[in-house]
């Protein structure tokens, strides 16, 4: 006697909400204020775009021809400066004939980064891969074996140096950050205090004073006669600096692991280190992947400061390329745009990626 349930078949919505006209109505001309704003901005663009177009494309000089550039000044950009100088900008003072080596080395590291970004490759062998990549990187850059002529570190420069500084510092800072973060949550007050002091002190000062210390005062702190390559000292400075920030990030992740996880681990009889390693860290770290990405982005940008302590990474190499060349120096702005583009593409790609990871994490949480 009881009725059968008869579902009404779902129909598609009568109000199609897509289509460019509908979109524009909702997003550009919703009411008079919106319409006015749209028109105002459109006018601005109409006013500005042709000039920009002329400067960037139409009136620009693309050939490495200084006289043509000089003639086009004020009308069009001189991209010729990039065509002329890109090798010094990208590789600094690295011996000209050997520049394929930094190129290959950099591509290797970038490849490694791309691979590491893919979830499917988050396996144990990734660490081995990185060790291999870095070993190759240094072999290629430094030479001295396999018939490669030796190139000393002070000749390393440009983009490879930028990449190397950021990647190495990140790798070194990471374990330190984990230890400090765990230390900040330890029950032992002495250890906690040390960690807190470290983090707060480092975060309180600007990076350039840390770099200055690392590059010029370091020898005062060690016994006489001991010398350490300036590159190594700068990396140490960057590492100590970034680790303090990363430690806070990791601590955030640790705090976000619910108490219930610890209790469950306890009730299963796991010890402190087992709990940290098997339960807490995997969850905390995967939660903070996006923030670590962001730390990496700022590290990548911050490496530009090492030019202040006379290392010729990308920004420094640009100064090297142009400052002493009267012919091309007037076109610094164009050269700046060139490396801006490099930094921007790197950072933008990474920040997009970190957003994507964040979404993935949120999705996996919500099932």
């Amino acid at each position: 006697m009881s009725a059968q349930f008869q579902p009404i078949a779902p129909r598609p919505s009568p109000v199609r909400q897509s289509g460019p006209v509908a979109w524009a109505r909702r997003n550009l001309f919703a009411d008079w204020r919106s319409t006015a704003t749209t028109l105002f901005i459109a006018l601005l663009l109409v006013w500005a775009l042709p000039g920009l177009w002329r400067w960037i494309i139409a009136g620009a000089v693309f050939r490495p021809d200084a006289d043509a550039c000089q003639a086009a000044r004020g009308v069009g950009a001189c991209w010729g400066v990039v065509a002329e100088k890109y090798r010094i900008i990208l590789f600094g003072r690295y011996p000209f004939d050997e520049q394929w080596r930094p190129l290959v080395a950099t591509l290797l590291v970038i490849g490694g980064l791309v691979v590491s970004c893919m979830r499917a490759f988050w396996k144990r062998w990734l660490i081995a891969l990185w060790i291999a990549i870095l070993a190759l990187f240094f072999t290629l850059m430094g030479g001295g074996v396999l018939g490669l002529s030796p190139v000393r570190t002070e000749l390393w420069g440009g983009f490879p140096l930028t990449i190397m500084l950021s990647v190495i510092s990140l790798f070194l800072a990471f374990p330190l950050a984990v230890v400090v973060a765990l230390g900040r949550r330890a029950k032992l007050p002495a250890i906690r205090t040390i960690c807190v002091l470290y983090v707060e002190l480092v975060r309180g000062v600007p990076l350039i004073s840390v770099l200055f210390m690392a590059s010029f005062m370091f020898p005062l702190f060690v016994p006489q006669g001991v010398t350490v390559d300036v590159l190594v000292r700068v990396i140490a400075g960057l590492t100590l600096f970034i680790a303090a920030y990363m430690a806070e990030t990791v601590r955030g992740g640790l705090q976000a692991v619910p108490k219930g996880q610890f209790e469950a681990a306890d009730s299963l009889g796991l010890g402190y280190w087992q709990t940290q390693r098997l339960i807490v860290l995997p969850q905390a770290l995967s939660m903070v992947v996006p923030s670590i990405m962001n730390t990496f982005i700022s590290l990548f940008k911050d490496t530009s400061l090492v030019t202040i302590v006379s290392l010729y990474e990308l920004t420094g190499a640009l100064a090297l390329a142009l400052n002493s060349d009267v012919q091309w120096r007037p076109f610094k702005l164009e050269a700046y745009f060139f490396i801006t583009l490099i930094y921007f593409s790197g950072c933008f790609a990474m920040s997009r990626y970190s957003l994507w990871v964040e979404k993935q994490l949120a999705a996996s949480k919500a099932r």
Binding site: A3, Q4, F5, P7, I8, P10, P12, S13, P14, V15
Partner: protein, 247 residues
């Protein structure tokens, strides 16, 4: 049946373009009627009652509340919202305001009522839900049951003709459920029109004039509580009831 205060007429709603969440809903609610809505999770219960004060908008059919048809017209929506009180599962009290401020907010800013008068009315409603002594505390300093009672009082401060409840007890501890249900039963007895999404069968039996069972965006069955619980007409309702009453 007197003139209905709420009328759904072939109301359809979609989320996005494809997700058909309310399907051909026809429903009339008379003044003073007390309705309990139940059904499996995701069946569209919340969506249904949120359409009534236009927290969600429907795309097809007509929905008339207290003589006002709900369209894009902002005036009409404001008009309706003044007459409809709503209580949420998660209470949604404003944590940065005291209990009293939570209650006077709308009367003062929307109803343009002087502060003193608004506070008097608020205290009345707080007494009605029996927590007048908590007026100066902040919401998060109260227990769940108390918070939900504040939420009810806040809705009552609008002097609404209709009260909507969306699973008001499901975020509460067993003991607190009773506090809240008691307050709701009192309200029901005062003759206010009431739509309540809940699985508290005891409550349904005690106060509902009608139980509505929904599944997959449709109203599958509606009946008096006795008839519905003792003798569900539809396969789907039977199945559902066997599960939630089974233990």
């Amino acid at each position: 049946m007197s003139d209905p205060i709420i009328r759904f007429d072939k109301v359809n709603k979609w989320y996005g373009n494809d997700f058909h969440v309310l399907r051909d809903i026809d429903l009339s609610v008379a003044k003073g009627e007390r309705i309990v809505i139940c059904g499996p999770s995701g069946s569209g219960k919340s969506t249904l009652i949120r359409c009534i004060n236009r927290l969600e908008e429907h795309q097809q059919g007509t929905l008339t509340v207290d003589g006002v048809e709900l369209t894009d017209n902002i005036k009409a929506i404001d008009q309706v919202r003044k007459n409809v009180g709503m209580v949420f599962q998660q209470f949604n009290l404003f944590p940065h305001l005291t209990v009293l401020e939570n209650l006077t907010l709308s009367p003062m800013w929307v109803g343009k009522m002087p502060k003193k008068e608004a506070e008097e009315r608020a205290m009345q409603q707080l007494k009605r839900v029996r927590i007048a002594e908590q007026a100066q505390k902040y919401p998060l300093q109260l227990s769940g049951g108390q918070q939900q009672r504040v939420a009810i009082a806040r809705a009552l401060c609008l002097t609404p003709k209709i009260m909507l409840f969306d699973e008001p007890t499901s975020a509460l501890d067993p003991e607190m459920i009773k506090e809240v249900l008691d307050v709701m039963i009192e309200l029901a007895n005062q003759g206010i029109t009431m739509l309540c999404v809940t699985h508290e069968m005891g409550f349904a039996k005690a106060v509902a004039d009608r139980v509505i069972f929904m599944d997959q965006g449709q109203i599958v069955e509606q009946n008096t509580p006795e008839a519905f619980f003792n003798n569900p007409q539809n396969e789907r309702s039977k199945d559902f009831l066997s599960k939630i009453l089974g233990h």
